[in-house]
Symmetry: C2
Subunit: 378 residues, 2 copies
Amino acid sequence: MTNDAPPSIYNDSFHFKDLKITPTTTPQKGPEIGGRTDHMVEIHWDSVNGWSQTPEIKPFAPLSIDPTASGLHYAIQCFEGLKAYKSTDGKSVRLFRPNLNLQRLNNSSRRIVLPEFNEEEFLKILAKFVEIEARFIQPGGFIYLRPYHIGTNGGLGIRTPTSSTLGVVSTIMPNFSAKIMSLYASPPNALRAWPGGFGSSKLGANYGPTLEQNDVANKLGYDQVLWLFGENRVVTEAGGSNFVVVWKCADDESKTEIVTCTLENGTILPGITRRSAFEYLNEKYANDENTIVSEREFTFDDIEAAVNEGRLVEAFGLGTAYFVSSCGTIRSPEGVDIKIPLPIEGRTGPVAEDIRTHLGNIMYGNTGEFDHPWRYDV
Amino acid sequence: MTNDAPPSIYNDSFHFKDLKITPTTTPQKGPEIGGRTDHMVEIHWDSVNGWSQTPEIKPFAPLSIDPTASGLHYAIQCFEGLKAYKSTDGKSVRLFRPNLNLQRLNNSSRRIVLPEFNEEEFLKILAKFVEIEARFIQPGGFIYLRPYHIGTNGGLGIRTPTSSTLGVVSTIMPNFSAKIMSLYASPPNALRAWPGGFGSSKLGANYGPTLEQNDVANKLGYDQVLWLFGENRVVTEAGGSNFVVVWKCADDESKTEIVTCTLENGTILPGITRRSAFEYLNEKYANDENTIVSEREFTFDDIEAAVNEGRLVEAFGLGTAYFVSSCGTIRSPEGVDIKIPLPIEGRTGPVAEDIRTHLGNIMYGNTGEFDHPWRYDV
C-alpha cells in the first residue's frame, strides 16, 4: 500500500461535452451552515450500456432507488470529500488536488467492485458544478463537495453490481479547524480496520460500524475516536482524520520527530491532506538533521512516555473536513485524560500552524502561492 | 458472543393494529424466479417523533432517498433473510423461528446505532405481509423475505442517525440447496472479519467488501469464498452460509466429530440455520459417546489432514439462502482442489441429509412436525 494508485482503466466513459444542465427553479437564498447547495451531479452506469452518455447537473432532489438495491443492503458504496475554496477577495474559486480525490474514488470503486470512471471527464463536470454553486461560498470560506458512487442494481443478489450511480452533492459545513480536538482512544475490544480488510479505501463500510464507539466518545464529551490497533496499541487514525504527533526523540532530545502512521499495512485512509502535509514537510526538512519526518508505526505507549518525560511538542489531526486540528486531550483506554501541549497561545503547535498556513495559502490563493501545482482553478 | 441476544429495549413502537394496507393496482401474473412480490412493508422512525404510528404495506415501488442520507454514504444499514414456506399440499404457509431473525435485526440495528423496534409488533406485520404475498409461493416452495433497516437522515454528518426506514421486501429465489457447492478458500491477504470488528452482525458492511474475493472465486468457477482467519488459517464461514465439517477423529477413528466454528470471537454470523441444526444435533447425540458435536475453532490444515488420512466424511454449508448445501470441492489457498466426499449418491452426506430432512419437515409442515415450536404459522 502506497500513496500511488494503479492507473485507472476504463473502456467507455461519459463526456463533459454531453453534460446536461438543468438549473433549479427554486433557488435557496444563500449559504446556510448545515444546509446544501441547489444542484447535484448524477451519472448512471449499467453493465449492458456502460456509462450514460448524458451526465447531468440538475436540481437537488431525492434519489429514486429500488428497495432491493445492492447499495442499500450490501454497502456497495464509496465516497470522497473535498472542498471548493474562495479567495478572501471573493474573486476566485479553486479545488485542492482534486485529481487525487478522483483517483482514490476509483480505487475505492474497484475495492467495492463498482466500475471505474474517467477521472479527467469527471473532474471537468465537478468543476462546472462548483462554478454553478460558487455563490454558496463565502469569501475566505469553502463548501464541502461529496462525490459518491453506489450500487443500484436490484434483486438482492450478492454479486458484482450491474448498475450504479456516480454523483456529487455539496453541503455548507462549519469550519472545524479552529476547534481544539479532544480524542477518545479506542478500547482493546474495538477495531476500526485490520490488515487484509478495507481500512485504506473510502468505503461506507469504514464509517457506520465506527459510530458505536464514536457515540461512547461523544457522550463522554470527546470529539472523535483515536483508533488503536492490536496488543501493542498502534496509533492508526482518528476516524475523521489522520493523526500526527511531534515529539523530541527519546534517545536525543536535540532532535524532533514529526510522525504519522504508515500506510503499509492498509489499515488507515491515505488522506490527501496527510499526503500533502508530509510532502511539504519532507521537502522542508530534507537537509535538516535535527528534524525527522516519519511515516511509521508508533504506539499509544510512545505517546504516554513522551508526555510523561516532557518530550511531547504537539499532536494534531489532518483531513479534509477537519483540515489541521490541534489536539488538546486524549483519553487513554484506561480512562485517564492525557493533556497534550498547545505551545502557541494554548490553541495549536508550531508544526500544525506551519502546515495550516502553507496549505491554506494554496487553498485560498493567498500571496505567493498563485501558481502552485496543487491548485485547480475553477 | 453467544447465540443469545440481550433483551431489546424500546420506549415507543409502531403497532400492528395501525397497519395501513394499500393493495397494488398492477398485480404481477405470478411467481417468477429472480422476480419480486407485489408489495413491501415500510415503517419510518425519527429521533423527534419516534416510530411512525402508520406502518404500511403498500405496492412495491422505488424508495425516495435524500442523496446525502447516512444509509447511502456510511453504510448505516443492516438486514435479515428468512423464508416463508408453503406445504406440499398448498394449504398452509409458515415461517421458521422468525423471532430469532427479528432479534438479530435488532442486534444489528444496535451495532450500527439504528433504533431498536418492537419485535412482536413487527412479526405480526411481517406475517400479514406473507399472507398477502402467499400466492407467490409454490406448494412445497418458498419466497425469500428481506427485512432491512437503513439510516435516512441527510446532511452527511458522521453521527448517530436521526431517522431511519425499516422495511420488508420479498424475492423469488431459486432453490440453491440441491446444488453441490464448490468453495474457494480465501488467500492470506484477504479477511472477511476480525475480533473487535462487526463480523457477527448482519450489516451491509460485511457483504460488499467481500465481493472482491467473491469475484475471483466466481471467475475461477467456484460458488463461494470459504473465509479463513489468521496465520493458523482458522475456518470461519462461507460468506453466504456457516460451514460444517464431519470427520472421524484423528486420535480415535471410532468417533465422529461434527464441527463448526465457534461464535466466541465474534468473526462469524450467528446463523439461525446453524443454531437450529446444532440444537438438533446436540439433543440427538447427547447420549451417543461416539458422536461429538462441537462449536470450536478448527483450521484448514485440519481439513487437509482429514482428507489425506481418509477421515473426512462430509462438509456442508448452513444458511437461509443455501439451506443445507453439501460441499464437493474446496480450492486451497495454494490453488489445489481438495475433493470432499459426498457419500450419499455423490450428492450429499449423512449429517447434511439428516439436518435437511429434520428442518425441512418443520419448515414445510411434513408428517410428524405439525406442532413443532420452531414453526410460526401464518
